[in-house]
């Protein structure tokens, strides 16, 4: 294979990665299957020169998304290659910390046989919205994995109540699309405040009220029982990795479906919040419209409530409340590995069948 030409601007933070003591907070919310299917058809099920030998579809039963805020106090590359004038190993270098906000959605992937049958259904996760506050992570995730990650800022701190959480997410964007509007480097996108932690078990009444989401999460996360229903084990993520052509920016010079695995290890410190006491609000701006309308299916812009006055002038945007159904957090180690290119569009005679990958990704 052709060697990538390294420089100091490209050599940081190569996958696979391992993170220790990651503090993850999850908030499940309802999503309409139609919105998800529309996203999947645009990003994975399209046909141009060829079609990928996979079909992605929304889950027919309990369709939900997970708003996730993760603080990575220690993440590092486990790539064994060496680089640079000092011939350093990536495992020796590349220690950093960052905070990430993303929306994860479980979907179904089927392999398409030569007879056009859908077989080997498996739940995989897509992440249509990701914001991260570390540029090395953003460049690595976008350019190698194909994640649509945006560099922004995330303020994550303790809330007003004991054990509570307060998160504000900002991203670069335009409040309105007008010729005289200046891009804001920190446009508010989301505000979240939980009530106090209610402990390591979810009261039965709350479980019964939201059993549809809890069972859906358990099924998508590996089908555990009891409290393990809430804890992820191994999640496969799929992305559309694509790069624009330099001459015609509306054309792609490279498109591929990439898969990677998030393995959660040493999961501990599970704690729940009362979902009814979680204030979760997205702020509507022109740049956020595609995320909020298309990906999160929050309707049309301009409909919502005025933001709370305590947020100040920079939060002068219309807010839209989202009702979380289940809210919990935990601490774990995470290994990000098993990265595979499932299909390269326009690859001619290649296909995942020829490469023997179909077997490798079977459930």
């Amino acid at each position: 294979m052709t060697k990538f030409r390294e420089s100091f601007a490209t050599q940081q933070f190569l996958p696979p990665w391992k993170a220790e003591k990651v503090q993850t907070s999850c908030f499940l919310f309802r999503l309409k299957p139609k919105a998800i299917q529309s996203y999947l058809d645009r990003h994975f099920n399209f046909t141009h020169m060829d079609r990928a030998p996979y079909h992605f579809s929304a889950r027919a039963d309990s369709q939900f998304g997970v708003i996730t805020i993760s603080y990575y106090p220690c993440i590092f590359s486990t790539n064994n290659s060496h680089f640079g004038a000092d011939n350093l190993a990536h495992t020796q270098w590349d220690h950093l910390s960052y905070t990430q906000f993303h929306v994860a959605i479980p979907v179904l992937r089927h392999r398409i046989t030569r007879d056009n049958l859908l077989v080997e259904g498996k739940t995989v996760w897509i992440q249509p919205v990701i914001i991260c506050d570390n540029s090395s992570v953003v460049f690595g995730s976008r350019e190698i994995i194909g994640l649509d990650m945006i560099h922004g800022s995330i303020e994550r701190k303790a809330g007003n109540d004991p054990g509570s959480l307060h998160v504000d997410v900002f991203f670069p964007g335009f409040k309105t699309f007008e010729p005289t509007t200046q891009e804001s480097p920190s446009l508010p996108l989301m505000h979240l405040e939980t009530g106090p932690s209610i402990g390591a078990t979810l009261p039965q009444a709350m479980q019964d009220e939201n059993s549809e989401f809890i069972e859906g999460l358990a099924e998508a996360s590996g089908g555990g029982k009891g409290l393990d229903r809430f804890l992820p084990t191994v999640n496969e993520i799929v992305t559309l990795k694509q790069f624009r052509d330099a001459f015609n920016l509306l054309a792609a010079t490279y498109q591929a479906i990439v898969s990677a695995t998030n393995s959660f290890i040493n999961v501990e410190n599970l704690q729940f919040y009362d979902a009814n006491k979680v204030e979760l609000e997205f702020m509507w701006s022109a740049s956020a419209t595609e995320m909020l309308s298309n990906f999160l299916d929050l309707g049309a812009p301009g409909v919502g409530r005025a933001p709370p006055p305590h947020k100040g002038e920079s939060w002068d945007l219309v807010g839209r409340m989202v009702k979380p159904r289940v809210a919990f957090g935990f601490t774990s180690d995470i290994e990000f590995n098993q990265i595979k290119t499932l299909h390269t569009f326009g690859g001619g005679a290649q296909s995942s069948f020829n490469r023997g990958l179909a077997g490798a990704i079977q459930p």
Binding site: T2, L88, E178, E183, A246, I339
Partner: protein, 313 residues
């Protein structure tokens, strides 16, 4: 070069936005940029291509921006190796003086326990604009050439002249900067391998140049912070006298005097993005190798080729 863009507008008026709106009507961006640019000659490798494919290009071995979107766009569309930095541009302590401070995410040493943090990378500070009360420049200073009336007028007229030459020569005489970069995409499974590699070119055209200010080189100090993960950058560009201990986290500021220093205001058009050459890439995994494609051409030859040559798909 340190550039402060107070207004940056996308000039593409095609309806590209989610509501059929053009990016040009969507708003404007501010950003600051610091880069090192080096002129190079791109030569053909046989007598024919030496005539028709030779050109003067500029490469950017180091470029950082303060705008995250600009960093991602530059990296992914053009292959520019932009890094995201914190850039502070100030006015120094004297009339028409200038200062810039640049910080980058880096590692203070290459010890396994070192953590990434925002570290000072480069500082530039000037005295007042010339002529100055702080002493005379060196006799071989560029400022001495342009400090007189005719020289200064020549510099101020250069922008208008370049417009005129460009218009009258139909672009046959190069008056602008064409930058080239290696655009490449890592393989997801094996990041040491590339699934795409090409040489990409784009044009930076400076017009409406005005408000030239020269600085006495003796009043200008460039400080580089030579330590940890930054050392390789400086070794590639400045050739410092000796390499620091890579495992010593202490900052080692090195001070330099430039050969010339000046500032000006201008309008910059950034356009004519092209893929000059796509390298054949062995992608492995049973995929067929990609084919080489070539569009290298001297700037003077390009319009003639476009007029008389075969139709390009």
């Amino acid at each position: 070069m340190v550039i402060d863009y107070p207004v940056m507008i996308c000039a593409d008026d095609r309806p590209l936005g989610p509501n059929g709106q053009s990016y040009a009507d969507g708003g404007y961006v501010k950003q600051q940029e610091v880069f090192v640019t080096i002129p190079i000659i791109r030569r053909g490798i046989n007598p024919a291509t030496a005539i028709f494919k030779t050109a003067v290009d500029w490469m950017l071995p180091f470029i950082v921006v303060g705008n995250a979107v600009s960093a991602s766009c530059g990296r992914e569309m053009l292959g520019l190796e932009k890094l995201l930095a914190e850039i502070k541009i100030g006015d120094g302590g004297y009339p028409d003086a200038f200062s810039a401070n640049l910080s980058l995410p880096g590692w203070a040493s290459l010890r396994p326990t070192e953590w990434q943090q925002m570290l000072p990378f480069l500082d530039i500070v000037t005295g007042p604009a010339a002529p100055t009360f702080k002493g005379s420049p060196a006799v071989d200073s560029l400022w001495t050439l342009f400090s007189g009336g005719p020289g200064g007028q020549l510099m101020a007229a250069a922008g208008a002249a370049s417009n005129f030459v460009d218009a009258m020569s139909l672009g046959l005489i190069p008056t602008t900067q064409h930058t080239i970069s290696l655009k490449q995409i890592r393989d997801a499974e094996d990041p040491q391998r590339a699934v795409y590699q090409s040489i990409v070119s784009c044009r930076s055209k400076y017009t409406c140049m005005e408000n030239f200010r020269f600085y006495n080189e003796n009043d200008v100090t460039i400080t580089i912070h030579d330590h940890g993960s930054f050392s390789e950058v400086f070794r590639a560009m400045f050739d410092p006298p000796d390499a620091p201990d890579p495992y010593d986290p202490r900052d080692r500021p090195l001070k330099y005097k430039p050969k010339a220093a000046f500032r000006f205001n201008s309008t910059i058009d950034f356009d004519e993005m092209r893929t000059l050459h796509e390298f054949p890439v062995d992608r492995g995994h049973g995929l067929p190798p990609t084919k080489a494609r070539d569009d290298t051409m001297s700037p003077w030859m390009r319009p003639l080729r476009g007029f008389f040559g075969p139709r390009q798909s």
